[in-house]
Symmetry: C2
Subunit: 292 residues, 2 copies
């Protein structure tokens, strides 16, 4: 399957898991659907499906896990955009959820998506496909990486270090938690729902961690390139940012080296899998070399 085949399957499945709109809380379901539809490249759910395939799992069984990860990602974006957080009016070129549905419904749509993620991976149908052991393990992994010491913790570190010159260690921890943890969870879940052993789960986890951090550093690099280009300055010359980034702390060349090295480490981790992992190898290179 190519990337758009994956996206199509995932999008169909996301809508299948949404509650029916035939209810008095219709507006809530519409708000949940609005943000699920406004998705990006579906990197996280695709990782679930790819690792599941690599471990000889069936796509049908992996879809609830893939959708759960995307629901968590989507809820985090809705809450992130709220006025009391980043106060963003736009998300991927479309009005943010709260600009369309109001802050109250947006808050609740985020809460409902987070809750739906856990319902999706523990409901009877998913248990009958993957077994209760795998479903519990997946729910616990997802909650740990998405929670107080994972994604949400990363957002708190981000808030606290705003307007301070955070050292590189804090930046690393923030990016690890805020971005890499959920990607890591996606890779682990793909193996877990296929019933893979701990060696494979650990390798998937390492792959996810490396591409997750590389993804965030590449983001910082692209931010600097695009804003410097817009302003007509030499790339990397603007060091007067209010907030530390990898680029402001380490310089653009060092950052490119780190992205390269993390990508190699991710690709190396794939060696424990017997089946053909070229698709995940390519995905790592594509994310590292992307220009937007």
């Amino acid at each position: 399957m190519n990337s758009s085949d994956y996206a199509a399957i995932i999008e169909q499945s996301l809508f299948d898991f949404l509650p029916s709109k035939d209810c008095n809380e219709k507006r809530l379901i519409e708000a949940m659907q609005y943000s699920l539809e406004a998705g990006g490249k579906r990197v996280r759910p695709r990782l679930v499906l790819e690792f599941n395939e690599l471990c000889s799992g069936k796509t049908e069984s992996a879809l609830p896990f893939a959708c759960a990860v995307e629901m968590i990602h989507t809820y985090s974006l809705i809450h992130d955009d709220l006025p009391c957080m980043d106060d963003d009016d736009l998300r991927r070129g479309k009005p943010a959820n709260h600009k369309v549905f109001g802050e109250d419904i947006a808050l609740l749509a985020g809460d409902a998506l987070l809750t739906l993620a856990f319902e999706t991976i523990t409901c009877d149908n998913t248990v009958s496909l993957s077994g209760a052991d795998s479903c519990c393990k997946a729910a616990a992994v997802l909650a740990r990486y998405a929670g107080a010491n994972g994604m949400v913790g990363g957002q708190v570190i981000d808030l606290i270090s705003e307007n301070t010159n955070a050292p590189v260690e804090i930046l690393q921890e923030m990016d690890y938690k805020k971005t890499a943890c959920l990607i890591k969870a996606a890779c682990e879940l793909g193996c877990i729902c296929a019933g893979a052993d701990d060696v494979k789960i650990k390798a998937a986890s390492q792959y996810g961690e490396c591409i997750g951090i590389a993804f965030q550093i590449q983001d910082d690099i692209l931010d600097v390139i695009s804003s410097d280009e817009e302003l007509g300055k030499p790339v990397g010359s603007d060091k007067e940012n209010s907030k530390s980034t990898y680029v402001s702390l380490l310089g653009i060349d060092e950052c490119k080296k780190i992205v390269q090295s993390l990508t190699n480490e991710a690709v190396n981790a794939l060696k424990v899998f017997d089946a053909d992992s070229s698709s995940l190898k390519n995905m790592a290179y594509q994310l590292a070399n992307r220009s937007n």
Copy 2:
């Protein structure tokens, strides 16, 4: 055990499930703890423990489920108090979470508590105590009753029907979803973690639904009595509320009858249990006859 014994056990257990504060996201853990500590009568987790006992389960095995329900209840209060929702400065006489920690941390503390609830009932330790089947079943039940067609859905119906004269059917659905669903979940979870059969789970569910709705109607009655008494008016004489309540629609006497009848129905449902259910019987009567 009496009610304060239950509360003490639950409170100790809640803190045991909280992540350590020895981390860079310490402020988040403090915010989570602040609201968990500011708890009320711990009705929901106590129901988990009581039904678990009634089904011959061990208290130790039921504590993760009891705490998960209380974490969900607590997150919902934090989000409810936010300026974009009810905008309440006080909760149980103490400053609301966002008044102490800021809106951004309060939002994230709610998200983290919701996530922690699901981690708590699916983690390795809980699975080893209750088995993966019970943990999955409990997680799915909790998510369904707390989510888009449960508690969160009830909050949306509440928002939508604000400043309208909602008919009694809408009010019933709102109270069922907003208040009764999580109480129902607590009762079911108590049976599920003890490995009880479907007949018992269904009876517990009916008990929970009845006392949940009765609880909400009693709340409406107490609101009217206290505000009319404050204003020196005859009780029940003020019909000019901007929002429908049971009392404004049905009158105070009819409401008292409904509370009584729901309480009797709850107590009747307990008949399927062989063990002594007098504690749950008393709890139903106490909630129905409470004066604050």
